[in-house]
Symmetry: D2
Subunit: 157 residues, 4 copies
């Protein structure tokens, strides 16, 4: 199933290296020698978790069906317009972040608000629907940061 998730990310324009860059940006201040490959390793480890895979697959399917205009209303419009009061995307993202405990929530929120790197590109894509994707990626990067911090016994704010 992990391979399926990586393939789906790739088809939707998300490269795991870019997710690792988010982790590096978050954690670099606390671990000066942190490398991008360690970050990628942590992203990949998070993707081993079944509940993470399920949340990602479910969210990407909803984005894709919305992009193809195949969802019934009112869901179709909620997703295409990325309605700010629609919260199911955040709910799935938090289920991902949760896997390494509550310390990841802070980084999820920070990424979701400031939209660095790949998150900005996803969020401003002119034709694609990434209502779920940007939150899933932020949740994944936050979970990988939390995992890294738990392993290194040191962390993000």
């Amino acid at each position: 199933m992990k391979d399926t998730v990586i393939r789906m990310f790739s088809e939707r324009g998300v490269d795991l290296g870019e997710v690792a860059e988010l982790v590096l940006e978050l954690q670099k201040p606390y671990h000066l020698t942190l490398s991008i490959s360690e970050c990628l390793e942590n992203v990949e480890a998070v993707l081993q978790k079944r509940e993470v895979q399920q949340a990602i697959i479910t969210g990407i399917v909803l984005d894709t069906l919305a992009e193809q205009g195949l969802l019934p209303e009112p869901l179709q419009t909620l997703l295409v317009e990325d309605e700010p009061l629609y919260g199911v995307d955040e709910i799935l993202a938090l289920a991902i972040t949760n896997v390494y405990g509550a310390i990841g929530f802070t980084n999820f929120g920070y990424l979701d608000k400031t939209k660095p790197g790949i998150l900005r590109r996803l969020n401003s894509h002119p034709h694609q629907v990434h209502t779920f994707m940007d939150d899933l990626v932020a949740g994944l990067a936050a979970a990988a940061s939390a995992r890294l911090a738990h392993n290194l016994e040191k962390i993000v704010p």
Copy 2:
């Protein structure tokens, strides 16, 4: 949007009166004079909440698309087989229950495990897919119980 939710429930065979019966069963031991109409009133009040509406609409759309065979794999199979390790349905249900605080979680779990009333019917339907629906209904009944308890200053288990 509340009307949309009620219509979607109805199209999928869920009558709010049956949801109210779950609430009555949960709360009767603590409020001897509780009536089914008070329970229904609390179910309807929970349905006013936007985040509840969104979770229900999203879950029902996924059930319906799975029933029509329109979801891409591996999500299609996960939902049709109601894979026990798939947890996104519980995640959405908890987002509903959450709206009235953590005291609703206990009732959600109890309903989801014992499957009384309408939950049994949904869960054993031969042709329909109710992977999300049974959890959504249990979450809704648990939230209505929590709301009722908060208002009556007395509660569940």
Copy 3:
């Protein structure tokens, strides 16, 4: 820290073998050959998780201080009376259950409502305060069940 948690459990009258019995009761119907030692092994594995340790330590400290009458009001009264609308105990329990994903929520709620085995004893103790403890134990048993199910690829309802 795991040793500290086990010691605190023991000082408060909770034996991990009894927690394992809750897991066995939950999972036996799905795994006919499941042994109590496998259940205990899963309980111990959950206790390795830092966020689980923190939630348990925090909850037990609050119970103990309440029992000694050392908490300021109104918290002292909320805990001693195990006020049914107080939800922080459920919140900590869910943080434990969460570690193995949403599939554990159902079992947490079921245990918390039906109070089998050690949970009944904790909940009806005449002098001790176990406002947090019964939820922590239910959350731990639910998490261990979820872990076991994830490993065995088969699960609880």
Copy 4:
């Protein structure tokens, strides 16, 4: 109980006006005419919620006991050192934010990471322990923002 919470905030050096300023900073870009008094009104409305009151009271009691050196180890040290891997403070904060749905999580994380206004003061106090308080305040401000957004049909981030 709301009065108790406001009194406890005040005793710990938290003025609700400063919490309202966090809300104003978060929401101003989306509601140009938003006033500080509307923000304060939303903060006060969030404080009416019982589960919010309970989380705040529980967290402040833990901070205060830690400051007085009255907690048993290892909790005493975890709180005094504001151990970054301790996540129970975030868990309580999210229980607050949750009350208005998942849309508040983003703002919680952003505040918790960037520590504007009162959060910086709390976080860098030389003698007082605010391990819980800074998260509780960030959670409260995020919940008030979500409430405001739900009412104004427009939102953050």
